[in-house]
């Protein structure tokens, strides 16, 4: 862990996953996740892993279903249109309680859209995305270091809760090169066995991996079980980073790339004497409501997103007291500058307490 490498976010994520013991990658080409996909295509065969280019994203997520059912750590990466196709498989993975990692390198939508960085898929990711009543754990890195750390940790969370985990990032985080300390590698052979996996009924009763139970009563029981699992994840796994909250009267809330840019705007505002803080959710689901619990001095929130107002809904649900939450952001591939956010922040700072 002491060695520092200069890595792109894409490579950091790939290396984090491999160091977590992931040896299986199935995927379909789509921009802007190409570098991650191609890194895996080169690297996995060198270390005895499996990389397979599938005929569609539907097939990729179904292959993941098979490999996850066999008890192996497995992942894919895609972007908006491909992630939409994977929603069928994600619903089945959630139902069968299979662990895996799906990386969404978000691009601008809706439709085919364009490939510039975006945060357009927040609601799709955090509300389940596919049919039925389920959740995926959603992680939002904001640096190359976090791309590696959260990819590594995603597999721990996926296995702990037997649940799909999604990483939401974008092409900017993927391309940006930064110093990274990679986590110590895990030998996949040393990972604890998964007694539920289908591996052939040798020396044990048979195992089943099912995305539908036999009876209506069992279907209700599964939903009760899932609800309790999700409640436990909400209690134990919410993560966030916060800054300057002790005296903050205005708090910027942002994740991923927009949080990274917001940090600069907040720092600039602090040097000008503005009492501004920052909450950066690292888990988008579970949304870190706890971060909003305790601060009496807050008079307003400013939610900065590269979309038309998606995480805003979670901030409105989480905030305490009758304080406004403003939104600053556009979809379509718009990237805010530090100046844009600073300007918006000053305006919100002046409006706070007057509403």
């Amino acid at each position: 862990m002491d060695k520092i490498d200069l890595l792109s976010g894409n490579e950091a994520l790939a290396q984090g996953a491999i160091r977590a013991g992931c040896r299986f990658f199935y995927g379909y080409p789509i921009t802007p996740q190409g570098e991650l996909f191609e890194y895996m295509a080169r690297r996995l065969p060198e270390i005895g892993g499996t990389f397979l280019q599938s005929e569609s994203e539907i097939a990729a997520i179904s292959m993941i279903y098979g490999t996850a059912a066999a008890g192996k750590r497995v992942m894919t990466a895609s972007s908006g249109p491909g992630i939409s196709l994977m929603q069928e498989g994600l619903s089945h993975l959630a139902s069968a309680q299979l662990p895996c990692l799906v990386v969404n390198v978000m691009r601008a939508g809706p439709g085919l859209g364009r490939v510039r960085p975006s945060q357009a898929d927040y609601l799709q990711a955090t509300r389940g995305g596919g049919h039925g009543d389920y959740r995926t754990i959603v992680l939002a890195p904001a640096s190359a270091q976090e791309m590696a750390d959260l990819a590594f940790e995603a597999f721990t969370l996926a296995d702990r809760y037997r649940n799909p985990v999604m990483i939401l990032c974008d092409g900017m985080l993927g391309q940006m090169m930064e110093p990274v300390a990679l986590p110590d590698p895990i030998d996949p052979k040393q990972l604890p066995p998964k007694p539920w996996a289908v591996t052939g009924a040798r020396g044990r009763g048979r195992n089943l991996v099912l995305s539908a139970p036999y009876t209506d009563d069992e279907m209700i029981a599964l939903n009760v079980e899932l609800k309790s699992k999700y409640a436990s994840i909400e209690v134990h796994e919410a993560r966030w980073e916060s800054r300057f909250l002790d005296d903050a009267e205005l708090v910027v809330v942002a994740f991923g790339t927009s949080a990274r840019i917001s940090e600069d705007a907040v720092s600039k505002a602090r040097t000008e004497g503005l009492k501004v803080g920052l909450i950066r959710p690292i888990t988008l689901w579970p949304f870190p409501r706890q971060a909003f619990n305790i601060f009496q001095k807050i008079q307003a929130y400013l939610v900065v997103e590269m979309n038309t107002g998606q995480m805003l809904e979670d901030v409105l649900l989480a905030k305490r007291g009758d304080v406004p939450a403003f939104h600053f952001g556009f979809g379509g591939g718009w990237i805010p500058s530090t100046q844009d956010i600073y300007r918006e922040l000053v305006e919100a700072y002046e409006r706070k307490g007057t509403l």
């Binding site: 066999a70 289908v198 052939g200 048979r206």
Partner: protein
């Protein structure tokens, strides 16, 4: 007293979840008998998905997976790549394999993926009430084309075995029928040869089974068996369409 006939030991005591006269049960039994005879219960993994056979995982005593409609060849790929020493089969209907899952099946065949696919061709969607399938014959009446399949409007039936045999370089591809004892014995042989293809790492294996759906066809069970003989086999001839190098005759 000597027991002359029993369920295969790879099968459970669960009841067949099928309508009277349906031949899914024969297909399941043939798979069970083949697994017994090959002694592969401890390394076989089966996959079923949406359709009449959605609950057929309860019929067996080995590891099984239920996955999304049409996707089982891709799920089987993920299982086989992770567990190359196991035997992985998918049990599909014709809507599953020839309509919604055609891409997954076709590409598994193109990759010569070392998996086995059994597909039930009964020319209708049985579970949802007898709608047209890609395999519905010209003129055949279904609930979605009540006046019969008109090819100028609804296109032509697909001959899965011939199509897959033409694209899959290393494979075992056969079509069998489950309508009389002679054909059933041949069907069992095809099931065994499909598993042997996989066990010998000789490539992809596929067995299409012509199967009766009296309820979906609005026929008696006996008329259904006759209809397979007199009508279905004309469109879907029986036989082995491809045999991989190395599979003994």
């Amino acid at each position: 007293m000597t027991k002359l006939f029993a369920r295969p030991s790879s099968m459970s005591d669960a009841e067949m979840p099928y309508c009277p006269g349906c031949t899914h049960g024969i297909a399941h039994r043939l798979v069970g008998e083949a697994i017994d005879e090959l002694g592969i219960l401890e390394k076989v993994i089966g996959i079923v998905s949406a359709g009449c056979s959605v609950r057929s995982w309860c019929l067996y005593r080995f590891d099984m997976v239920l996955s999304a409609h049409g996707r089982s060849p891709a799920v089987a790929t993920g299982l086989k790549r992770a567990l190359p020493d196991n035997l992985v089969f998918a049990y599909q209907g014709d809507g599953d394999s020839a309509a919604i899952g055609l891409a997954e099946l076709m590409h598994a065949a193109l990759r010569c993926e070392g998996i086995t696919v059994f597909t039930i061709n009964n020319a209708v969607y049985g579970a949802t009430g007898g709608q047209a399938a890609p395999t519905t014959l010209i003129g055949q009446k279904t609930t979605s084309y009540p006046s019969g399949r008109d090819p100028s409007y609804a296109g032509y039936p697909i001959n899965m075995a011939e199509v897959l045999a033409s694209v899959s370089k290393n494979s075992y591809v056969a079509r069998v029928a489950l309508n009389n004892v002679r054909n059933i014995l041949k069907a069992k042989n095809a099931v065994i040869r499909a598993f042997k293809t996989q066990e010998g790492r000789l490539g992809f294996s596929f067995v299409e089974m012509l199967s009766a759906c009296p309820i979906g066809w609005r026929m008696t069970p006996l008329d259904s068996l006759k209809w397979i003989d007199e009508t279905m086999i004309k469109q879907y001839p029986l036989g082995e369409f491809k045999v991989p190098k190395g599979l003994e005759p």
